[in-house]
Assembly symmetry: C2
Homo-oligomer: 224 residues x 2
């Protein structure tokens, strides 16, 4: 019986929470270990900066209203508000009730992020031939929330930072290596009290995390 909040397996994401309830030490640079997920509280008017030191690592990014996890960042609502599937520097990111949750205040990359593809999950790796458990972004989201005492009521479609998924004018999709550069950063300012969850995407069977298929750490900090 499918339960949105329950992981299909486990990894270290269950154990590496940054604090009991996800509250960060401000200005501290946290490491998000390769293949894992972490949750962090980013309050209204605070900023979160995520750094892609390798330039090849996709970060699945979700955000929830800290007071009600049924309200969350929503890609399908973002498409309407932007009139685009590619959010750019200066754009606002909205929730499933069309409230402004964040503004992108810096993006050093060329802005190739994905908003149309589901996060990888247990079922995806089974399709790709895995017999054993494979780390996956959906379980990382679930575990990152459990690690701070929360639970996902549903799995929102992710903002896949630096994931390079061109959609052509006939609707066809390609899965390509990121177009990011080493040390690219994206910074978001929060407009409500949020819980942000990030996953260092463990997809090593397609080239979406670089043609070498090596999964990398990511780094982030929260500041006022």
């Amino acid at each position: 019986m499918f339960d949105p909040g329950k992981p299909d397996g486990t990894n270290n994401s269950l154990k590496i929470g940054i604090s009991k309830d996800g509250t960060p030490e401000l200005n501290y640079i946290y490491k998000l270990p390769a293949r894992c997920g972490l949750a962090v509280r980013v309050k209204q008017n605070q900023k979160i900066e995520i750094e892609n030191r390798s330039g090849t690592q996709v970060c699945d990014f979700w955000a929830f209203n800290a007071e009600n996890l049924h309200e969350h960042l929503s890609m399908e609502h973002l498409h309407t508000s932007l009139g685009s599937i590619l959010p750019k520097n200066g754009d606002s990111l909205v929730s499933n009730t069309r409230k402004k949750m964040f503004t992108i205040i810096e993006d050093t990359s060329e802005g190739f992020h994905d908003t149309v593809i589901a996060s990888c999950d247990h079922h995806r790796y089974q399709e790709l031939g895995c017999k054993d458990y494979h780390d996956n972004c959906v379980d990382n989201l679930r575990m990152a929330l459990i690690a701070i005492g929360e639970r996902a009521p549903a799995i929102p479609s992710p903002l896949n930072l630096w994931m390079n998924i061109p959609v052509d004018q006939n609707g066809k999709i390609q899965w390509l290596a990121p177009r990011a550069k080493p040390f690219d950063k994206i910074e978001l300012k929060a407009y409500m009290n949020t819980i942000v969850v990030m996953s260092s995407c463990p997809q090593d069977l397609t080239p979406i995390n670089g043609n070498d298929c090596i999964i990398q750490d990511l780094f982030f900090k929260v500041s006022n």
Copy 2:
């Protein structure tokens, strides 16, 4: 406090359920009244055919696993399974656990359906300047389920049948009138026991339901 299952207002969708639990009379042609939503049970191996007599009416379409509404048709998972944002005749439609829910067995249109835009909701019409309640697809979904004794645990991104939303290669989206013809039909075969919900999209402030902005009835039947 946002509650995914609770309508923001009401219309006739609460009262026009096709039967107590949504079970249809097979081969009967049901009318889905303009601006309303209806839920219908479509069992494994049954087919549902939806008819667009005007050729101008968008149908927001959702489907849930009848045994567990947390599992539902998912556009973001569909994008991965198809390698496309445009489902075509012969394609299968998958759930958020990547299970095959339907196959499109007939589509008399040219296949311009939308899979990237959220359903209209109360908040969208407020943004568009409405002061009073405006019928909307999300409330139609909620009410259609309530009318058969069910409740939406989340609002999945819809399959917007006949909605013409070109996405160009720079990611830009346009909202255009449907490219369907009068009496276009789409027929789907179910691969699990489902609850299908359809809404005659009441969006009359943009031309997505035809340049005359007149909302029309739709028609459907379920057969073995």
